[in-house]
C-alpha cells in the first residue's frame, strides 16, 4: 500500500485514477493544479506522484522540477496524452521515474504503481 498524490486538472481523470488506485488498496490524495500540488506534497509527503503535463498555471514539467528539488527521492510518474518522443526524453531528463500514456489503462497504472510501492 502506498500514499499516492494525483495531480491533474481534469476532474474525470482524477475520479478514474482514484477509483482504480483506492480499489487496489492505496491511499489517494488529489490536487487540481501545480501550485496546490506542491503545497499538498510538502504537507502529505506521498510515496508516489502521478502527474499530468498539460495544466493551467504551472505546467507539469515545472511541477516535476520543483518536486525533484524539494524531494529527490519522490517517485514521479507522468501521465500524459502527449506521446512525442521529445516529451518523454524531456521528462526523463528532469527526473521522471515513469511514463503512462493517456487515456490510461488500469493494468498499466497498477503495474507501474505497484512496482514502485514494493521498492518503497
Amino acid at each position: 500500500m502506498a500514499k499516492i498524490l494525483i495531480i491533474d486538472d481534469s476532474g474525470l481523470s482524477r475520479r478514474i485514477m482514484r477509483k482504480i488506485l483506492s480499489e487496489a488498496g492505496h491511499v489517494v490524495i488529489e490536487a487540481s493544479d501545480g501550485f496546490s500540488a506542491l503545497e499538498i506534497f510538502s504537507l502529505e509527503k506521498p510515496d508516489i506522484v502521478l502527474l499530468d503535463l498539460t495544466m493551467p498555471g504551472i505546467t507539469g514539467i515545472e511541477v516535476l522540477k520543483q518536486l525533484k528539488s524539494i524531494a529527490p527521492e519522490a517517485r514521479v510518474i507522468i501521465a500524459s496524452a502527449d506521446i512525442q518522443h521529445l516529451t518523454k526524453e524531456l521528462v526523463k531528463q528532469e527526473g521522471a521515474d515513469g511514463f503512462i500514456n493517456k487515456p490510461i489503462v488500469e493494468e498499466e497504472v497498477l503495474t507501474m504503481v505497484n512496482s514502485f510501492a514494493k521498492k518503497g
Partner: protein, 352 residues
C-alpha cells in the same frame, strides 16, 4: 467538415401544421434564433410539397395529423422527391405509433408539442425546438437515405471460442431509432451476452420504440424496468427520463437500476452514466459502442471503459447522421476502431 456545414449560416425553415395558432407560435419561437429564418408555413402535406419546390427550405417542421395529406405521407413523398431534413412536432400521447412511422418514412427527429399551449409551456419547449431544428440542418441526408435503402442482413450465430466480453453497451442519439434498426435485428437469437442501450428520445416514446424493435429482432428487446436482470438474449433500452445504471450484487446477479440522479448531465438517460456503471460492474469485460448523435455524451463513459481495459467501437463518420458523439470519443483517443453502420453488427459479433 460536411456535418457542420450549415451550423453557422442562416437556415430557411418551412412550418407545416393545420392549426393557425400553432403555426404562429412555431414561427415566433423559431425566428427568435439568429440562425433560423421561417420562410413559409403550410397547412397540409399537399400545400407543403408545392411550397418546398418554390421556397427551397433547408429544414422542415411537420405536424402529423392534418387534413388532405397527413405528415407521414408527406414525409415519404418528400423523401422520394428530394431528401430534406424534417423534424416532427407532434403530441406524444395521441400519435406515438405515427411518430415512429414518421421516422421510418425518413423524418430526422421529433419534438413533443405541449398538449395545452399555455404561455409558459411554450417557453419550455422553445429552446428544445430551436436546438432540434438547428441540429437537423447539420445532418447528413446522404447517410440517412442510404440507411433507409439498405436492409439489415441477419448474422449467423457465434462459431468458435468466445472472448471475455460479458456485456455490450450502446449509446446513440440523433439518427438513433433508425441506426438501432440496422444493428439489433441482425443479431442471432443465441447472442451470448446481454445488451444495454441508451437512446436519446423524448419521454413517452422509448417503451413503444422498444416494442417495435422487439418485433423486428431475434433478441428480446424491452424498455428497462427497475430490477430487470441482465441475461444473454435480452436487450434493455433505457426509458426516457431515467438513467440506466447496471449493478452487480454480492451474489453476482446483474440487474438494471433506474435513477433520476445525477442531475448535472445534459441528457437523461445519459450514455456516460450507463458506460461508467458497466465499467464498474464488469471491468474489462465490457464492449461499448458509441453511435451517431450530436454532442459528446459517451466520451466520459468511454474513458471509464477504456481505463478498465474494455473495448470501445465508434460508428464511422461516413454512416453517421450526425458525426458528433463518435467524433468526440475518437478525438479523446478512446476509440479502438471506427466501423460503418452496415458492418457494426458483424463486428460486434466478431469481438464477443
Amino acid at each position: 467538415m460536411y456535418t457542420r456545414r450549415n451550423m453557422n449560416k442562416l437556415s430557411k425553415v418551412l412550418i407545416i401544421d393545420d392549426s393557425a395558432y400553432i403555426r404562429k407560435v412555431l414561427r415566433q419561437i423559431l425566428n427568435k434564433s439568429p440562425f433560423l429564418d421561417v420562410v413559409g408555413t403550410a397547412t397540409n402535406g399537399v400545400e407543403a410539397l408545392e411550397m418546398v419546390e418554390s421556397l427551397k427550405p433547408d429544414v422542415i417542421t411537420c405536424d402529423l395529423i392534418m387534413p388532405e395529406m397527413d405528415g407521414v405521407t408527406f414525409i415519404a413523398e418528400q423523401m422520394k422527391r428530394k431528401p430534406i431534413p424534417i423534424v416532427v412536432v407532434s403530441i406524444a400521447s395521441e400519435s406515438g405509433e405515427v411518430a415512429l412511422s414518421a421516422l421510418s418514412a425518413g423524418a430526422v427527429s421529433f419534438v413533443q408539442k405541449p398538449t395545452a399551449l399555455a404561455t409558459e409551456r411554450v417557453l419550455e419547449m422553445s429552446e428544445e425546438l430551436i436546438e432540434t431544428v438547428k441540429e437537423a440542418t447539420t445532418i447528413s441526408m446522404k447517410a440517412l437515405v442510404s440507411q433507409m435503402e439498405t436492409l439489415p442482413v441477419p448474422i449467423p450465430g457465434k462459431k468458435g471460442p468466445r472472448s471475455a466480453i460479458e456485456l455490450v453497451v450502446i449509446g446513440i442519439s440523433t439518427g438513433g431509432p433508425q441506426g438501432l434498426k440496422s444493428i439489433i435485428p441482425p443479431l442471432p437469437a443465441d447472442f451470448p451476452v446481454p445488451v444495454a442501450i441508451v437512446l436519446h428520445m423524448p419521454i413517452g416514446y422509448t417503451e413503444l420504440y422498444a416494442r417495435k424493435l422487439n418485433e423486428l429482432s431475434n433478441l428480446h428487446v424491452t424498455e428497462a424496468r427497475e430490477g430487470d436482470e441482465l441475461v444473454a438474449g435480452s436487450v434493455l433500452l433505457a426509458p426516457a427520463g431515467r438513467h440506466l445504471v447496471i449493478r452487480r450484487s454480492l451474489d453476482n446477479r446483474v440487474t438494471a437500476h433506474l435513477d433520476a440522479k445525477p442531475f448535472d448531465k445534459p441528457h437523461r438517460p445519459s450514455v456516460d452514466v450507463l458506460f461508467e456503471s458497466a465499467a464498474n460492474a464488469f471491468g474489462e469485460q465490457v464492449l461499448g459502442v458509441v453511435m451517431t448523435g450530436m454532442g459528446s455524451d459517451g466520451t466520459e463513459g468511454s474513458s471509464w471503459i477504456k481505463a478498465r481495459g474494455g473495448i470501445i467501437l465508434t460508428e464511422a463518420e461516413e454512416s453517421c447522421i450526425v458525426y458528433g458523439m463518435p467524433r468526440s470519443v475518437v478525438e479523446a483517443g478512446l476509440s479502438d476502431m471506427q466501423v460503418p453502420l452496415h458492418k457494426l453488427a458483424s463486428k460486434i459479433m466478431e469481438i464477443i
